[in-house]
C-alpha cells in the first residue's frame, strides 16, 4: 500500500512525541513524592546524558551545564604549591619541554638566571601562553616531568581582546588542581612521594 512507509515513519515521531510527556510526567510524580525536578538539577542532567535517556535530552545552556570530566582539557595553567610562610612555590623548572612539545608553538618561556653567578637556575622569570593559538591538545601537561603544567576545566573563554596569558594569569594553587582532577592529582602525589622516599633511602644508604 502506498503510504504505509510514511505511516511507519510517523509512528516513530509520534512515539517520540509522547515519550517526552511520559518522561516528564514520571519526573513530575516523583517530585510530588519528594524527588527533584528533571530540569535545572544535577540528577536531571545526569539522567539526560545517561545511556537510558529518553524524551527531551537537550541541556539548557547556560542555565544548565554538563559536568566536566576529569580528563577534559581546555587551556593549560601552571601549578604552584603553597609553602608554610605563604609563598608561592612554582613547580615549573623552566626545562622547556612543554615549549618544545607544543604543536602550534604557543608557549613562550623566559628562564631565570642566578643574579650572582649569572648561571641559569631551575625557575621561570616569565611564562606566556598564547591562548588564541593553543589547540588544547594537552601535550604540555602530558610531557611535563614535574607536574607543573596542567589542563584547566574552565571553558567559558570568550573575550574581547587577544588572550596572551602571562604568569599571573596562569598560576593556580595545587589545591585547585586537586579539586578539578582528584584522581590524577592523587596518583601523581603518590608517585612523587614514592620517588622522594627512594631518594631519601638512597641518601641514607650512602651515608
Amino acid at each position: 500500500m502506498y503510504g504505509k512507509g510514511i505511516l511507519k515513519s510517523l509512528s516513530v515521531t509520534w512515539k517520540r512525541f509522547w515519550m517526552t510527556y511520559i518522561e516528564d510526567l514520571s519526573w513530575f510524580f516523583r517530585r510530588m513524592a519528594g524527588g527533584v525536578n528533571r530540569y535545572y538539577t544535577d540528577e536531571g542532567i545526569a539522567r539526560r546524558s545517561s545511556a537510558d535517556t529518553r524524551g527531551i535530552f537537550t541541556i539548557q545552556y547556560p542555565e544548565e551545564k554538563l559536568p566536566v570530566h576529569e580528563e577534559s582539557r581546555y587551556l593549560p595553567f601552571l601549578v604552584y604549591d603553597e609553602t608554610e610562610d605563604g609563598e608561592k612555590d612554582v613547580r615549573c623548572t623552566s626545562c622547556g619541554i612543554c615549549a618544545k612539545v607544543c604543536p602550534p608553538q604557543c608557549i613562550w618561556i623566559v628562564g631565570k638566571n642566578d643574579p650572582d653567578s649569572g648561571k641559569s637556575i631551575p625557575q621561570i622569570a616569565e611564562f606566556y601562553i598564547d591562548a588564541d593559538i593553543c589547540m588544547n591538545c594537552g601535550f604540555c601537561s602530558e610531557y611535563c616531568p614535574f607536574d607543573a603544567i596542567k589542563m584547566d576545566h574552565e571553558y567559558e573563554l570568550a573575550a574581547y581582546k587577544r588572550n596572551i596569558y602571562n604568569m599571573d594569569m596562569l598560576l593556580k594553587p595545587a589545591e585547585y588542581y586537586a579539586s578539578i582532577r582528584p584522581e590524577n592529582a592523587a596518583r601523581e602525589d603518590e608517585a612523587r612521594r614514592v620517588k622522594e622516599e627512594a631518594k631519601a633511602a638512597k641518601k641514607a644508604n650512602a651515608a
Binding site: 512507509g5 545517561s50 545511556a51 613562550w108 610531557y143
Partner: protein, 581 residues
C-alpha cells in the same frame, strides 16, 4: 616490520628490465620507473596485473638530491597488498610526467593537486589547473624551498620560544604588506579573475547548445556554493544546466586550504597527532589511527594488546557516530529539516561523552600515541560503552530504519538517483561506503587487515543498486556490523599495559617510507610518511577520502536534476576540513 608493502609477488624489473629498477634506498620499497615508459608500465600494471584501484598519487621533493618524485600506490579491489612505483625527474623547470588519467581516471584531482603544490606538469591531463590554492598564487608551496609568509624556521621546535621566549605576535615580525606573496607586477587591487574563471567555464562547455530536434537551447551556468547550505562548508560546484538538467559540472575547492601537509613537515612526528584531528573533524579517532599506523610502521614498534582493542572500539564507535550524523544531515539536505538530525545527535552525544571521558575532548580527541593510546579507558566510560553497545544503539539504529527505510518520500528522492557503476567507481578511485554501494566488496579491514581486525567476525556490506538508496543502506547496515565488532571487542578486551614503554616527546624514527591506510568511515584514509632520520618528517601526505571521492561527482550528476545534485553531494559524505586540507 618497517616495510610497508610487500612487492615480492610482482617483479616489475624482470618484466621491464630496461625501464624499471627496484627502489633500494634504505627503508623504501617498490619500483623506480623511467618517465618515458611510465604509460606503458602503468597500462601493464592496470591491465595485466589487475591493479585496478589507484589509491594515491603524490609528489615528493628531494631537494638535497635535486630530484622530484611522483609516487603511485595501486591496489587490487580483490584485496591484498599494493604496488608502489615511482617516477623520478630532475628538479628543474619545466618538470613533466605523462598523466595516467586515461589508465586510472581517479588520478584527475590528485594530479591537479601535484601540479598546484609541486609544480609538476602532467601532459595529457585535460584540465590541469590549480586546485587548492587560488589562481593568482605564486610558487608551488609544497616545494622544500618555498617559504610561507609567516615563516619562522625550517622545523619546529622554534628556537625563539625557550629559554628567552618573550612573547611576540606573528604579525609583529611580518607586517601586513609582507604577509602575502604575489607574482611580480601583480596588483591585487585591480585584479579580476578573468582568465582562470574562463578556463574553468571553457572546460565545462563540452556540449553543443543544440538539442536533438535542432532547437537552440540556452544553457546557463549556476554556481552552487561556495556559500550554499548543501555544501556543508565552503565547497563550490559550477554547474551547466539545460533547463533543470545538469549537463556538466566542475568542483572548485580550496577555500579552507591551509596547507596541512606543509605544516606537517615543519612539525615533529608527535606534533602532527593533534593536527590530524582537524582533518575530518567528525572522526578524529580514525584519523589518529591512520597516522599512528604509518609512523609505527616506520619505527617498527608493536602496539600493546589492550591498546589494539581500545583502538578498535574507538574507531568503530566513531564509525557509528559518523554514519548517524551522515543520515541526519543527508535527510536535512533532502528537506527533512532537523528532526532526523536531532535523533542522530542524541545518540552521537552519548558516544562523544565516552570520547570525552577517555581522551579529554569530544571532537579533537588526540587519543592515539605511537605504540598505543594515551591513557586507559576509565571504568565509568567502559560501563557506559557496554550499555550503549548492548542495550541502546541496536534499538536506536532500528528506529532509524523504521523512520526512513520504507518512507515513500525518501525513496522517491533516492531510488535510481546518482548512478555510479562498479566499473566507474573503481576507475575514479572511490572508496568506503561509496564503493561498496556500487557492489564492490572492498573494505580495507578485510582486504588488508590492520590492527587486530582479522580477529573479528563481521560482514562487508554491499548493495547492488549503485544509487543513493544503496549508499543510504550500506551506511545503516555498516552501523549494525560495527556493533557486532564492538560486542566482540567489549567482551574479549584483555587487561594489560597501554603503552609499550614510557612515552617520550622526541620519538626516533628510522629513515624510510611508510603508507598507513585504514578504512575510515568515509573511505580509505592513508598517511604517506617519509622519514630521513631527523625529528621531523621529510614528507607527510594525507590521502583524504573526501577529496578523492569528489572525482566522480560529475559522473554521478550529469543527466540528473539540479535539485538532486544536493542529494548526490550529500551522499558522498564530504568534510571540508579533510577535502581542502
Amino acid at each position: 616490520m618497517a616495510t610497508t608493502v610487500s612487492t615480492k609477488s610482482v617483479d616489475l624489473s624482470t618484466i621491464f628490465p630496461d625501464a624499471v629498477i627496484a627502489d633500494e634506498r634504505k627503508g623504501y620499497t617498490g619500483w623506480l620507473v623511467e618517465k618515458d615508459n611510465l604509460i606503458e608500465i602503468a597500462t601493464y600494471v592496470r591491465e595485466e596485473l589487475d591493479y585496478d584501484l589507484l589509491s594515491s598519487v603524490t609528489g615528493v621533493d628531494y631537494l638535497p638530491e635535486e630530484k622530484m618524485e611522483v609516487v603511485y600506490q595501486v591496489y587490487k579491489t580483490t584485496g591484498g597488498p599494493g604496488l608502489f612505483f615511482k617516477v623520478q625527474i630532475p628538479r628543474e623547470d619545466p618538470m613533466e610526467i605523462p598523466s595516467v588519467i586515461n589508465i586510472w581516471p581517479g588520478a584527475d584531482l590528485q594530479e591537479r593537486e601535484i601540479w598546484d603544490l609541486y609544480g609538476i606538469k602532467f601532459p595529457g591531463h585535460p584540465d590541469l589547473r590549480r586546485i587548492l590554492t587560488w589562481e593568482g598564487f605564486e610558487g608551488h608551496p609544497m616545494r622544500k624551498d618555498w617559504q610561507e609568509p609567516f615563516y619562522e624556521e625550517e622545523t619546529k621546535p622554534f628556537k625563539s620560544r625557550w629559554p628567552k621566549g618573550e612573547h611576540i605576535h606573528a604579525e609583529e615580525i611580518n607586517p601586513y604588506h609582507d604577509n602575502l606573496k604575489f607574482p611580480p607586477k601583480f596588483n591585487p587591487e585591480n585584479w579580476t579573475p578573468t582568465d582562470p574563471e574562463e578556463a574553468l567555464y571553457t572546460s565545462l562547455k563540452k556540449f553543443t547548445t543544440k538539442n536533438e530536434d535542432g532547437l537552440e537551447a540556452e544553457q546557463i551556468i549556476v554556481n552552487m556554493g561556495p556559500q550554499h547550505p548543501s555544501t556543508h562548508g565552503v565547497f563550490r560546484a559550477v554547474v551547466v544546466l539545460d533547463g533543470e538538467k545538469v549537463v556538466s559540472l566542475k568542483p572548485v575547492m580550496g577555500y579552507l586550504h591551509r596547507n596541512h601537509e606543509k605544516i606537517g613537515e615543519r612539525n615533529t612526528y608527535l606534533h602532527n597527532m593533534p593536527y590530524t584531528d582537524r582533518l575530518d573533524y567528525f572522526n578524529s579517532m580514525a584519523n589518529n589511527w591512520a597516522y599512528a599506523l604509518a609512523v609505527e610502521k616506520l619505527m617498527g614498534i608493536e602496539v600493546t594488546e589492550r591498546s589494539e582493542y581500545i583502538r578498535v572500539i574507538m574507531s568503530e564507535l566513531t564509525r557509528i557516530q559518523n554514519h548517524l550524523v551522515w543520515v541526519g544531515i543527508f535527510l536535512n539536505d533532502l528537506g527533512a529539516v532537523v528532526t532526523p538530525l536531532l535523533y542522530a545527535f542524541e545518540e552521537r552525544e552519548l558516544i562523544l561523552d565516552i570520547f570525552e571521558e577517555v581522551s579529554g575532548a569530544r571532537m579533537m580527541c588526540n587519543y592515539y600515541r605511537f605504540g598505543g593510546v594515551v591513557r586507559d579507558m576509565p571504568v565509568r566510560a567502559f560501563e557506559k560503552l557496554k550499555q550503549l553497545v548492548y542495550d541502546r544503539l541496536p534499538g536506536k539504529i532500528e528506529e532509524f530504519e523504521r523512520l526512513l527505510s520504507e518512507n515513500e518520500i525518501l525513496l522517491s528522492r533516492v531510488k535510481g538517483i546518482g548512478y555510479l557503476s562498479a566499473k566507474d567507481a573503481i576507475a575514479t578511485s572511490m572508496t568506503g561506503p561509496m564503493l561498496r554501494a556500487s557492489g564492490v566488496p572492498y573494505d580495507i579491514r578485510r582486504a588488508e587487515p590492520y590492527g587486530i581486525y582479522d580477529r573479528f567476525d563481521f560482514d562487508v556490506v554491499t548493495r547492488p543498486e549503485c544509487d543513493l538508496y544503496a549508499r543510504y543502506h550500506v551506511r545503516i547496515e555498516e552501523m549494525h556490523q560495527s556493533l557486532r565488532i564492538l560486542e566482540q571487542a567489549v567482551s574479549t578486551i584483555p587487561e594489560g599495559p597501554i603503552l609499550p614503554k614510557k612515552p617520550v616527546y622526541q620519538v626516533r624514527v628510522p629513515a624510510g617510507e611508510a603508507y598507513g591506510r585504514i578504512e575510515s568511515p568515509k573511505g580509505e584514509l592513508g598517511f604517506y610518511v617519509i622519514s630521513n632520520g631527523k625529528p621531523n618528517p621529510w614528507r607527510y601526505h594525507v590521502r583524504a577520502p573526501s577529496f578523492i571521492n569528489i572525482t566522480a561527482l560529475e559522473k554521478m550528476c550529469v543527466g540528473e536534476k539540479i535539485a538532486d545534485f544536493v542529494a548526490i553531494l550529500g551522499a558522498i559524505d564530504i568534510v571540508l576540513g579533510e577535502l581542502d586540507r
